[in-house]
Symmetry: C2
Subunit: 256 residues, 2 copies
DNA sequence: TTCGATTTGTTCGTATGTATT
DNA sequence: TAATACATACGAACAAATCGA
């Protein structure tokens, strides 16, 4: 494979950006599966005909994007949605007492239907496209805290059934990844406060006038392809949404 | 078990981590002021007696932490809270129509008092320590959307008065930075839904039963020192809290 | 258990390109 | 134009972690 970086190309990308794109290309093409190790830096350098340093810089960014994970002495792996470390990256509800706990999910309903106007636009699917609409209740310490409504474009999840969904092992995004090769790498969430719909209030066992937190999420895969809409209604009497943003690991200690 | 010699024991940091710590040390010591350029990579390499590559790696992380900003051809600068780019890093309320707009703030009250029990703990100050308690209303497109309550440890803001606070130019964090050398580098926010206190409802012009978004924020400076508590009540009829988390710039384009 | 091969992590050095002043 | 500063790319050497023979 020859590295043809024609000079006339618009949008000059640095080499390491090109390498990054080609690596993610192999990911979406399925050349390497989630959990797999990708080739070593030395082999990638040979394959792309660039130096190891350039490979490393590309991988650095993919690690920052949480798409790859590196382990000294072992290799570089495709991040999976099954590791404890990544679970709380997409789950932000914590106890007001500071407790972090993963929810137990129970499916309440599973339907196939035509996408509504809003879902069409946000999922970027054609008019009349089919979607799955799934309702779940999430429990924390046995208590129903979250009511979830998922909308999935049926075209991306060919043989999905309620049995497959409810019978999954691990998280929902783990199912997307393992069974459909769909890798959720980014989410965008918009939060507001509102009164819950009666159905939600009933499941969460709150009075309809009780304020609840409403989270509207869009989950994206590579190339900013939206793969899931999710609306969550959260009873915030005992729990909160935690937004704790910092970039690298704990901030540096600095002597004044 | 074999004791693997004196090699990798505790207290061992990679060189670039040490450099990162020493650079932030110069920041907190005030050797360089916000907005200033820090010495060039070459000079820092000489000063710390390490290679330029090591300097670069340390600065890379400080840039990822949004503590420094680099500009090719110009230099490396201490990030300030006055740049449009950083403003929305700490302000997350956007219109439901997608509009992004910076709020106009108006101070409603300014008091000095003893810290309550909760503030003592979260601000890590002694019993009986003084705090400022400030109320603001924030308007978007002329509409009162947010009611803010700030609690500041008085010890960190020696000569702060209502005139200084209300007469500031720029943002609140810009005031902390420019006048008190206090650099907010990280915030932690916890969100819930609730009914507003009557005072808040009155300012926001909503009925007391209306659900509002409640945001409890702690702002941190270097070394995880808490410097501000803030509670925001947000009318989410026309606005939302946006949590859009991804790491590097836009995700890579990948051909399948 | 030890040892060696493999892989990533750290550090150094050099050269060249590009943006700014 | 020239000097400065960051950006990119290359290469080399050794350290540290992992794993299997």
């Amino acid at each position: 494979m020859v590295n043809t970086l024609a000079a006339g190309n618009l949008a000059f990308n640095p080499l390491y950006k090109e390498v990054k794109i080609r690596i993610t290309g192999s990911l979406v093409a399925g050349e390497w599966k989630p959990g797999d190790a990708i080739p070593s830096e030395a082999r990638l350098a040979e394959r792309f005909d660039v130096s190891i340093g350039t490979i490393r810089k590309a991988i650095d960014e993919l690690v920052a994007d949480k798409i790859l994970v590196r382990q000294q002495g072992r290799g570089t792996f495709i991040a999976t949605h099954t590791e404890d470390r990544t679970l709380f990256y997409f789950f932000h509800i914590v106890g007001k007492d500071g407790s972090k706990e993963l929810p137990v999910s129970e499916m309440l309903s599973f339907r196939r239907r035509k996408a509504g106007a809003g879902a069409q636009r946000r999922l970027n699917v054609a008019r009349g496209a089919q979607v799955f609409r799934i309702h779940n209740v999430l429990r924390l310490s046995g208590r129903a805290v979250i009511f979830d409504e998922l909308v999935l474009p049926a075209g991306l999840f060919p043989d999905l059934t309620d049995e497959v969904f409810a019978g999954r092992e691990g998280t929902i995004y783990g199912l997307y990844q393992a069974r459909y090769g769909i890798n959720v790498i980014r989410i965008s969430e918009r939060l507001s406060a509102a009164r819950p719909p009666v159905r939600v209030a009933s499941v969460l066992r709150v009075r309809p006038a009780t304020p609840v937190l409403v989270i509207k999420r869009v989950a994206y895969s590579f190339n900013d392809v939206p793969v899931e809409l999710r609306t969550s209604w959260v009873n915030t009497e005992r729990h909160e949404y935690l937004s704790d943003l910092w970039k690298t690991s704990p901030p540096p200690l600095a002597a004044g």
